[in-house]
């Protein structure tokens, strides 16, 4: 805990404790932990003498802030106009149903974090899905689920081999 407090102190000091620099401070916390751990927000609110509710409002307003740890993988599906017309709405629903996840959320087993975004700028090859930075074009419900299921298998193999 002492060390963790130290991290918070360093971040706050980086911005001279300026309340106006709340967002950059929160970004730094997230960079450190991968998300915004509630106890860190509690400590930060206390340190900056700000109501915790205000930090929570900021954290939930910006979609780039996360209040829960990210999954091991990133799955991003475009539901912009063209992708949507070509069926990405149904794909999104299937992913959510199959892996018990909501757009913006992480699967209960923390396998992946799922984002449904508004345009990826690749409308010509819609619908588009990105998994850990790799683009998949012209995906269908079946192909999308297959790609994601592959992540689960990889993960199982990795764990079995005890490489972690």
């Amino acid at each position: 805990m002492a060390q963790e407090n130290n991290i918070l102190e360093q971040i706050v000091d980086r911005y001279d404790g300026e309340v106006g620099m709340l967002i950059p401070m929160m970004q730094d916390i997230q960079a450190e932990y991968g998300y915004l751990p509630p106890d860190q927000l509690h400590a930060m609110a206390k340190r900056l003498e700000l109501p915790l509710s205000r930090l929570y409002a900021v954290a939930t307003f910006y979609s780039s802030f996360r209040l829960a740890p990210k999954g091991a993988h990133d799955v991003t599906l475009c539901v912009g106009t063209v992708c949507y017309l070509k069926g990405s709405g149904a794909i999104s629903e299937a992913i959510c149903r199959e892996f018990r996840v909501e757009p913006g959320g992480t699967t209960p087993d923390r396998l992946f974090t799922f984002q449904a975004v508004n345009c990826l700028g690749a409308c010509a090859v819609a619908p588009v899905m990105i998994v850990d930075g790799k683009y998949y074009d012209g995906v269908t419900t079946a192909s999308a689920l297959e790609v994601i299921s592959g992540l689960a298998k990889d993960e199982a193999t990795v764990q079995n081999e005890g490489e972690r």
């Binding site: 109501p51 915790l52 509710s53 205000r54 929570y56 409002a57 939930t60 307003f61 979609s63």
Partner: protein
């Protein structure tokens, strides 16, 4: 301020510069529709309902945040505006689940009213999709329900919580279509920083937030609304009790924005703690104790029994062997009748009430210094003070609505707040300077502040020479009382004392606010005199927003004192030892009166030990929990030959009684309460009393009549008329005059408009009198066996001995039981962890309670709230008395605290 002249809907209007169009229109009776405006919060301009047309400006203008300008021509409603408002409503309704059929707000909902007025089509932009049902921050709250499907995101609740209450518990969470009102992390309301004032429910214009307990108990349009005065603290909030005419029960409590003194604001007790009224534990029939057990009796039997026993004791032991405790909870009329009964019918001045235990030292001290022992200013003046000095008052907890004015003064008007309290109370957050004096060292602190003010010559020489006397006597005492000397006594660093003195003395208007942290000491009167000295030294008395303001605890403690429920004075502070006044009252009451002053509360208890008091008549008080050194008090209650308890519940005290008489509570009677700012306000009957309960004054009249001193009144108003004839400060009072807004005494005649602040131009006693005060130690100091200083006090959620508040589920959820606050380091040294059971011991007793480990109290000091019958703090407190005011030292005693050896 400059006045601006302009035109609204063809009417010429003038308003101060800076007034918004919406407010100016309201001032001339034109109500511009709005859904996100409330006069108590900054305008947000988000709902778009308040648009108006201004001649010469393109498009429409939002009226709630646009100030009026010279020559402006405003049109508040025409076809174009109506069409826009209709569309706005239809857009809002596309987000609001229309459920008027089952909504409590039906008939009292702004959104519904406007939708009807503009004939909005709720389906025009599609009906809202229902959100998945999931728990939110209020799901587990006993007090509040939040339905996000009905929420129109006007933000009023969030702004109220942030700007007015400053609890900052609520916020908007999420974005776009997902926005909801929430606490941080959606944590349960009662675990957040929420103080359960209910302001969010009150301000919600769309039925999205509701009183949970009232759901389905009656639509607002079907409920009867009765305006009355709150029965909890001395602020005297005006509440509207909403009752169901079919069941005769209180369904919910609201308050109207604009009412005096609370402007629609409430605290958790006024809003959520009225369950006691309809409690099935209420007394419904007289009880007589036979063979150690209470048996039901008829009124006739009970009155006969009480009258006979009192007569018998009086003839055997004399009138002085009987004493009465009147009640700061009862009305002015009850108190007047009670003291008249004791004085004229029984024939003694042995009448007192619990003011003895809270502000006796105020009455004694301020009467000596100024000539009048009451709050010098009005509540709404506080927010305009340049400096607010709070000492020994946990204002936001004990007088929450006054706490709002303090916060408003600091946050909106730039007042400099000084807080001196052994505990880091919530107001310390807003303070320019917070200092923690060791309990019982207030005189040292104030003397040192005055030392600084004199040595730096920042005192008001003109005021002192024109308005005061005995300043020369003050100087020698202060000469050596340097901040360094005070530091050694109070533990406050000398530099901070200097800073505090400068802040206070340099302000144009400085208001002192104090309460029991000052009064409940063996040096209580000294403390009060010191504050009076400080105020006079700097010329801070006798003008608006500057004065000495004791906050009175009980709803009607001011009134009970005013009406003579004190052993030394008749109504209106007229001395019983003054033979002229005695003659006046003898002719008014047609009875010979005693010219000897009577016994005070604690003296009565001690006199029982000495067989001097044989009978005690207690109306609406609970000394078995409220008095100091409970073991001793309870022995007295046990010992006294004849004890009558007239109450609404079988209290801890009533259990000792020989006769228990059921009385009615504030919601069941007519009368008046006088609040802490001397404002006499109406109490109105809203519900019928349970069983055979009767109003206190009626019971007393029957007993008196039975004893051969006929007393009868046609109603409470008649009693007030009699009060006005014998009480000069109430001379101008009548029910008719105080019907709408109360009146502040002194109000000597029917034409007098009442008095906002005291001592303008001249003090009540002529000149203000300085009293040099030497510092004295508290009666009991820590030693080897009792190493801690124990201080006691109140908390927001409970009131006094909890007989009323502890009947509320909302309160029980957040404040289930008592505790002792102990500093983190002390707790660590004793291996006590937070929430653990501990034993607190003093020379007088031992109680078991839970430890609350905190950094908000200094090392070596302990704090306990006294509301709880389990682990009662008053088992521990010291009954040593202030020699002048006879107030006991509740605030300081020496104590030990131990970890429990084994789990209990």
């Amino acid at each position: 301020m400059k006045e601006v002249c302009f035109n609204i809907d063809g009417t010429k209007v003038t308003a101060p510069e800076g007034t918004t169009i919406l407010e100016a229109a309201k001032g001339v009776g034109i109500d511009i529709p709005n859904l996100c405006y409330d006069s108590r919060v900054e305008p947000a301009g988000t709902c778009r309902m308040c648009v108006v047309q201004i001649e010469g400006r393109p498009g429409l203008t939002i009226s709630c945040n646009t100030p009026v300008a010279e020559g402006m021509e405003v049109c508040t409603e025409n076809a174009e505006i109506a069409a826009i408002r209709r569309t706005v409503l239809e857009l809002i309704l596309s987000d609001h689940r229309v459920a008027c059929t089952s909504c409590d707000k039906d008939g009292a909902c702004r959104l519904q009213d406007y939708a009807y007025r503009y004939q909005a089509d709720e389906g025009r932009f599609g009906l809202p999709e229902r959100r998945p049902v999931k728990p939110n921050y209020a799901t587990n709250s006993e007090g509040i329900l939040y339905d996000p499907d009905k929420c129109i995101l006007c933000g009023l609740c969030v702004r109220y919580c942030e700007e007015v209450q400053k609890a900052e518990a609520l916020t908007f969470a999420g974005r776009l279509g997902q926005i909801e009102v929430s606490t941080a992390f959606g944590m349960d309301l009662h675990e957040s920083t929420c103080v359960l004032c209910g302001g969010c429910v009150e301000i919600c214009p769309a039925g999205s937030m509701l009183d949970r307990a009232a759901i389905g108990k009656g639509r607002e349009k079907d409920l009867t609304r009765t305006r009355t005065t709150c029965a909890y603290c001395g602020v005297g909030c005006q509440l509207d009790l909403l009752t169901d005419p079919k069941t005769g029960r209180i369904v919910k409590v609201t308050s109207e924005v604009g009412c005096i003194p609370n402007n629609g604001n409430m605290c958790v007790k006024g809003k959520f703690a009225m369950d006691f009224v309809g409690s099935d534990k209420r007394l419904t029939t007289p009880l007589i104790k036979r063979n150690g057990k209470f048996e039901e009796a008829t009124w006739e039997e009970a009155i006969e029994f009480v009258a006979e026993r009192l007569k018998q004791i009086r003839s055997e032991f004399g009138a002085e062997s009987i004493a009465g405790l009147s009640s700061a909870k009862c009305t002015n009329e009850d108190n007047y009748v009670f003291q008249k009964f004791i004085r004229a019918c029984i024939g003694t001045n042995n009448v007192d009430h619990c003011a003895r235990l809270c502000h006796a030292s105020t009455v004694a001290g301020l009467a000596r210094a100024f000539g009048s022992g009451a709050m010098t200013n009005s509540i709404d003046e506080i927010k305009d003070a340049g400096c607010i000095f709070i000492i020994g008052s946990n204002t936001t907890e004990a007088h929450p609505v006054i706490g709002l004015y303090v916060k408003e003064g600091v946050m909106k008007n730039g007042a400099e707040l000084l807080v001196a309290d052994p505990r880091r109370i919530d107001l310390a957050r807003f303070a320019k300077l917070y200092i923690a004096q060791k309990p019982g060292t207030d005189v040292a602190l104030i003397n040192a502040m005055m030392n600084v003010i004199i040595s730096e010559e920042i005192y008001d020489k003109d005021f002192i020479s024109e308005r005061t006397e005995d300043f020369e006597k003050l100087k020698p005492i202060l000469k050596d009382f340097t901040p360094e000397k005070a530091e050694a006594i109070t533990t406050i660093p000398a530099e901070k004392i200097r800073a505090a003195a400068r802040i206070y003395a340099k302000a144009d208007t400085a208001s002192i606010i104090y309460s029991m942290g000052i009064t409940q000491h063996t040096t209580g009167t000294d403390n009060v005199l010191s504050l009076a000295n400080l105020a006079m030294l700097t010329g801070n008395v006798g003008k608006a927003s500057a004065g000495v303001n004791p906050l009175r605890g009980q709803n009607n403690v001011q009134g009970a004192c005013d009406l003579g429920a004190l052993p030394n004075v008749y109504p209106g502070y007229q001395s019983v030892e003054d033979s002229q006044l005695q003659t006046k009252f003898e002719s008014a009451w047609e009875q010979k009166l005693s010219g000897r002053k009577g016994l005070t509360v604690v003296e009565m208890m001690h006199a029982i030990e000495e067989d001097k008091i044989k009978a005690l008549y207690i109306m609406g008080e609970n000394p078995a929990l409220s008095d100091p050194n409970l073991n001793r008090t309870r022995k007295s209650l046990e010992k006294v030959d004849f004890l009558v308890s007239q109450d609404i519940f079988l209290s801890e005290t009533a259990e000792y009684a020989d006769v228990v008489l059921p009385s009615v509570c504030f919601a069941e009677k007519d009368g008046t309460f006088t609040n802490t700012e001397r404002r006499v306000q109406r109490v109105r009957k809203a519900v019928t009393p349970p069983g055979q309960a009767q109003s206190d004054w009626e019971i007393i009249c029957e007993v008196a009549t039975k004893m051969g001193y006929p007393m009868a009144y046609g109603g409470a108003d008649e009693i007030m008329d009699e009060i006005a004839t014998v009480t000069p400060i109430y001379g101008g009072m009548s029910f008719e005059r105080i019907d709408k807004v109360g009146l502040q005494w002194p109000c000597p005649d029917k034409e007098h408009p009442g008095t906002r602040f005291l001592h303008e131009g001249t003090f009540k006693r002529g000149k203000g009198k300085f009293h040099p005060v030497e510092y004295k130690n508290p009666d009991e100091l820590p030693d080897e066996n009792y190493p801690f200083v124990l201080t006691t006090g109140r908390q927001l959620y409970q009131f006094h001995t909890g007989t009323m508040t502890r009947k509320s589920p909302v309160i029980n959820q957040v404040s289930p039981t008592g505790y002792v606050e102990i500093h983190t380091d002390d707790a660590a040294g004793l291996e006590i962890s937070n929430g653990e059971k501990v034993e607190v011991i003093t020379r007088r007793g031992k109680v078991t309670t839970l430890a609350r480990v905190t950094g908000n109290i200094e090392k070596g000091w302990l704090f306990m709230p006294f509301h709880f019958r389990e682990g009662p703090a008053n088992m521990l407190t010291n009954d040593a008395l202030d020699p002048t005011a006879k107030i006991p030292e509740f605030k300081v005693c020496a104590a030990a605290v131990n970890k429990m050896k084994q789990p209990v």
